[in-house]
Symmetry: C2
Subunit: 492 residues, 2 copies
Amino acid sequence: MNMSQKKNALSITREENFSAWYQEVILKADLAELSDVRGCMVIKPYGFAIWENIKNILDNTFKELGHTNAYFPLFIPVDLFEKEAEHVAGFAKEMAVVTHHRLEYVDGKLVPSGKLETPYVVRPTSELIIGKSFSKWIKSYRDLPLLINQWCNVVRWEMRPRMFLRTAEFLWQEGHTAHETAEQAIEETIRMHEVYKWFICDVLQLFAIPGKKPEYDKFAGAIDTYTVEAMMQDGKALQAATSHFLGQNFAKATNIKYQDRDGNMQYVYTSSWGLSTRIIGAMIMSHSDDNGLNLPSQVAPYHAVIIPIIKDSNNTSSIMEYCNSIKSALSNKFRVLIDNNDDSPQNKKWKYVRKGVPFICEIGIKEVESNTVFFIKRSDDLKQLKLNKEEFINTFDSLLKNHDATLKNKHENICKSKLVNDITTFNELQEYFSNNNGFARVKWSGSNENLDKLNDLSLSIRCIPTEQTDTNGKCILTGQNTIQEIIVAKSY
Amino acid sequence: MNMSQKKNALSITREENFSAWYQEVILKADLAELSDVRGCMVIKPYGFAIWENIKNILDNTFKELGHTNAYFPLFIPVDLFEKEAEHVAGFAKEMAVVTHHRLEYVDGKLVPSGKLETPYVVRPTSELIIGKSFSKWIKSYRDLPLLINQWCNVVRWEMRPRMFLRTAEFLWQEGHTAHETAEQAIEETIRMHEVYKWFICDVLQLFAIPGKKPEYDKFAGAIDTYTVEAMMQDGKALQAATSHFLGQNFAKATNIKYQDRDGNMQYVYTSSWGLSTRIIGAMIMSHSDDNGLNLPSQVAPYHAVIIPIIKDSNNTSSIMEYCNSIKSALSNKFRVLIDNNDDSPQNKKWKYVRKGVPFICEIGIKEVESNTVFFIKRSDDLKQLKLNKEEFINTFDSLLKNHDATLKNKHENICKSKLVNDITTFNELQEYFSNNNGFARVKWSGSNENLDKLNDLSLSIRCIPTEQTDTNGKCILTGQNTIQEIIVAKSY
């Protein structure tokens, strides 16, 4: 059977309905589900295993760069939250507020009771609560730089949830650092921005353009926000990770002062940077296809699954022995699963196709007798391959690298066809986006004038790319002469 | 200098004020601090590194036993929470209630706004919210057993916080499993109880008595609660980890049914089990001394710290090279820190004594020239030792085992002197606890009669130990004949 002629493993294609397809990929791969709690999702074991892999890779990297983990309170007193005005403006409309500390029965119904004097908000981000601790921990320049990271849940009240992309509660890491000088804090911000770029492009194999956010779209309270803007298969942008240079704004709000090398008291300069479970949504919309999920090897819960094909029960033990020998040869370095549940081999195969296991091996008596491994390369349109067993085992590392390269190339090809560099006027922009989605690299003077024209087309400035061509041109919004280029796109 | 004659590294001794001493151990080891958020603590990097080690050991063990991690919502709708009446009774008095989903300025003050139709409670434990998911995931006996674990934060409103022991928010893991039969769920409950016993006694080297909770003190909604009751140095008990057989109570509350092997629909049987950051408090109160923290090796952030002693700067490079050679020889298997900050060697030594690093090495030119390592064994009253460098490196593993054995023995000696087996009447009990604290192993008939007599002495039944002597005796509360033994103690 030529599998490429088979019907797809999902009922909806990307072409038919990208958004419904996205939901189906998640459900059929058993990654997550919406919960009864409005706006909140449940991350199921297979989805959470991906997050655990993401966490491990980033956590090791952060630690190698000198950061240590700590844990700060979930709750922020409203009067502390008030201290940074821009911050309030950015978050106040979407937060969970705790007002009571017990429940009690009134007329047979459980109702809130024990009203708090000061309400608490559930952290949407932790600059202020961590800043309060920093103000106690930092006394002198000897205590700097202070490099802290936290893995935790945060809440931003969200009424139109989409799994992984937009949920009221999500998981993330938030790095918070304090430095003697602005230069050092900027250096740290850019260093972590580079870590994200590496992780997103080289580990997750996404296509992304790094750059700065325009002034009006910075993190609430930041001086500069760096972003990695990833392009999805449908040409829309997804803000994959941000890093903020906060100047002395939060140091002043939470009073983080240190004695400098000359004995004078100074405010520190801080940075913060975060990456969330949203990245799993970005990965899905970049690599998955009409057969379901595709996973970059480093975060895949399983690198290979082995399906025993037993037609004659006399062969059971020799086939199982052969499967076990492959698994044990690989499992020192790789994550391998043998699925010997009593479901049919065909059902199992399609299950792991939908779950995006990079290599799906089918082992029957033929393979045992010929000392071979028959396997499907998930990323390469389910290409069927056969290798000598020893070769399969010995080259498995390069098979995985090759799988990653296939994912990267496929996605890059899609994205590069949606990168537009030749738009010079607003009319051309409007025309392009009336039929297409993609990243338009256009000129912008930096003024906020006419930004609503973009908004009216559901477009936004995704970033000011780090790599500029430095050519002269005219701002698409004002016609002014400018050399600055931006990326304009629709976004998630 | 004979260090045993030196003044202690803390200002308060256990003898003088156990509770103030406990706080000082935490502060001087830089483990944690209370936050501005009432009842909540900040876990500082050194304290959090201990938790990360605890997490890794337990997480690996859970996974080896077939459990997978997942993540469920922080919020529980009040109407879902209401479904299990005993559960409500157990938790309703101490929960954070979210009633609004934004803040807005009214007369220049930020106030809660956007009132929710149904309030949410912040999870104090997740049986109900996870049960809701299980009810979707489980269809047939083929889906069982379902073995899930979650690492997360929980909130139980606590007005008299004590770091690690009692805080409004704490971190924990909660295992939740579903099974076909009561027997299988009980087996799982006991298996995880055994895992906790192993972790608490053999990894953390605590002294503890495993057993069942009496009926009246079970987890709210459980059929049986198994507990590991650890004894602190002051003779008080600390409930270190609990495992609950929940019968079909939560299955009924959240409608978790499966089709059994005969095609009939049945409710599943569930278990849940948890261990929290509280265990760090237990560890502190078991192993620390008047010089500060002591840490069992497997969870210690550093196994050894190396302090270079440089009196003549001509020796700097040879001393540093020597220190580095020790570190690099060990660091494949062990966590080693070289502290070359510009603080004095003396200050550094006492810093690491207070932080409970198992081995503190002081390396000067004498050690370099004699090819030796001079070191302090933290657990053995700062005993000073000297070994040939190669011997130190090659036997480091047994040095650590020896360190753990020292901790265990010391603590066991204290605890065994506070284990009382010869109390047969309530008067004797009263007399013992008027001058002492400890674990009294006494007879109890199992009736709730006269329990308030224990309560009046601030005593409680900690557990019905798994190991019973099966001798006849009389209940200390009712005088009835009984063979059942219990542990009575004051508790944290």
